[in-house]
Amino acid sequence: MTATETELSAPPRAAAPSLGEPPVRTVRRRNRGRSPLVPILFLLPAGLCITVFVVAPAVLSLIGSFFSIPLAGGSWGFVGFANFSRVLTDPTVQQAIGNTVFYSVITIIPSLVIGLGLALLAESVTRGRALIRTALFLPLTANLVAMAVVFDYIFAFQGGVVNQLLGIVGVGSVNWLGDTSTSLVTVALVGVWRAASFAMMIFFAGFATVPGTINEAARAEGIRGFAKLTRLTLPIMKPTVVFASVVTILGSVQVFDTINVMTEGGPQGSSETILTETWKLGFSYYDLGSASALSFLLLVVLVGIGLLQRRVLAGSAR
């Protein structure tokens, strides 16, 4: 039985590289009782949806950024790079870009470090591991709007539990979400709370990919603790580390839900980010051309991050 299976599976695999002009016998055997149309039919629904709902809109977004687009329909007017120069010189947009960079910097590194630390902690205990893991994964599932509502209350100026606790230690109340100097940091705290949980799940899954022999060898050589982590585990888990980094970066750069519910970008634009600004440009001021330009700039950054990831991984393969 096993021999038959191996024999049967061999020809198609061998024939695969020469698909251009395959031997007649192989073709007949491969297609016995099977229509070559079926693979196409299988791909068609997904292919159509991806073309219509992802590829075409992304391309239109690029094209649209060179036009002025009337919301009610009607003809587009070509404006060249005017949308790009308008958004890039707009002080509000500049502030939003600066805020996004700041928000990303203060969420990405802490989320990854805390996520890795939590995964290591949860991995290191035997008693109650499943329970601890569940508790630490929970932020990942949270509905961001619901959590934003809850955090809004936790950080409320009056009656918020954070200010109450500060009051007990004798520190005066802080207007966390209502002050230009703290609003973005406060939303970022929620971001870290969530992203660390996501990073932890990815690292946790990644630990499972480290071969047991590596751990044994490390034990035999007496490599432990921090040295083992930086010199053995993390290099082996490089794909996991890169994946966790990319997920965290993409999540931070695209922050929207929490900001929209907790601060609506305020006060005075102090927590406005690229996405909330794109939203306002497009759907509050109906300047769809400028919104397209800004969202296209964001796409360029995201694709850049994606390409960088592939480069890093390709480098590690050699």
Binding site: F53, P57, L144, V161, F283, L288, L302
Partner: protein, 272 residues
């Protein structure tokens, strides 16, 4: 001595992490049961439980209607995604044909394109199609998922070729092979992706915010956000009760499906 200090500090760290992780959930449930007087006076421990907060949230935020909408929309999206993603993933994983690498490249490329970038053309398109403020308008743009195709393909790659050969020898066509061999074997991945998709679309806020207007199309997160930004002022207990209602379904689903979810998602790493 040193080992004991290490042991103790490890448990302290775990305790802190668990408290920080769970605190918002605990505080949400606590506040959802708080009598208005306790919230007004800033009382830490509740004097009594007030379940009326849930009734107030349910009626004022119209959560009954929006929960029904949320269930219909989420389940429709997940079903359609399975119907489109499973066959595509099978072909991309196991059926060689010319141009397969190109197709795979397109899927991987789409992983990098977030909904937000496609938002404006999608919005214009949905409006032109007359689907704004309708249930199909909430569902149609998410009929397939590049992430789903990618994740399921990763899982299907590990199905032994010999098994598919055996199915072919037995005279099974592609469709029967898919139904009787591939789907059962890719079960964990399909389950994990379904759970992930439920999370994503039950929790989605941006797209409904854009196109839902009337009570029959408003989804739970949107209903909660509208409730918060409306004239309720600072009715924190009712808001928290609403947050509980919106959060509970996904948290329960996660607790039930946790093990499979985490295992199934581990294949999601983008290969080097």
């Amino acid at each position: 001595m040193n080992a004991r200090v290490l042991h103790a500090s490890r448990w302290i760290l775990i305790a802190v992490a668990v408290v920080v992780s769970l605190f918002p959930f605990v505080w949400m449930v606590r506040t959802s049961l708080a009598p208005a007087a306790d919230v007004a006076s800033g009382r830490f421990w509740l004097s009594s439980f007030d379940f009326g907060n849930f009734a107030r949230a349910w009626t004022k935020a119209d959560l009954g209607q929006s929960v029904a909408t949320g269930i219909i929309v989420t389940l429709s999206i997940v079903l359609l995604q399975l119907v489109t993603c499973v066959p595509a993933a099978y072909v991309l994983a196991k059926v060689p044909f010319r141009g397969r690498n190109v197709a795979l490249g397109v899927v991987l490329g789409c992983l990098l394109v977030p909904t937000q970038v496609t938002l404006i053309p999608l919005f214009i398109g949905v409006n032109l199609a007359g689907l704004a403020d309708s249930l199909p308008g909430l569902v149609v743009p998410f009929m397939t998922s590049a992430f789903g195709i990618f994740l399921l393909r990763q899982q299907m790659m590990s199905i032994p070729d010999g098994l598919l050969e055996a199915a072919r020898t037995d005279g099974l066509g592609h469709f029967q092979t898919l139904r009787r061999v591939v789907v059962p074997m890719a079960g964990p991945g399909i389950a994990a992706f379904s759970v992930f998709s439920v999370f994503t679309h039950w929790n989605d806020y941006m797209w409904p915010l854009l196109i839902a207007r009337s009570p029959s199309t408003i989804t739970p997160p949107l209903a909660l956000a509208i409730f918060q930004q409306g004239d309720t002022g600072f009715d924190y207990p009712a808001l928290a009760a609403g947050a509980v209602i919106v959060t509970a379904p996904v948290v329960i689903l996660f607790l039930v499906a946790q093990r499979r979810f985490v295992q199934g998602m581990s294949g999601a790493e983008i290969p080097g």
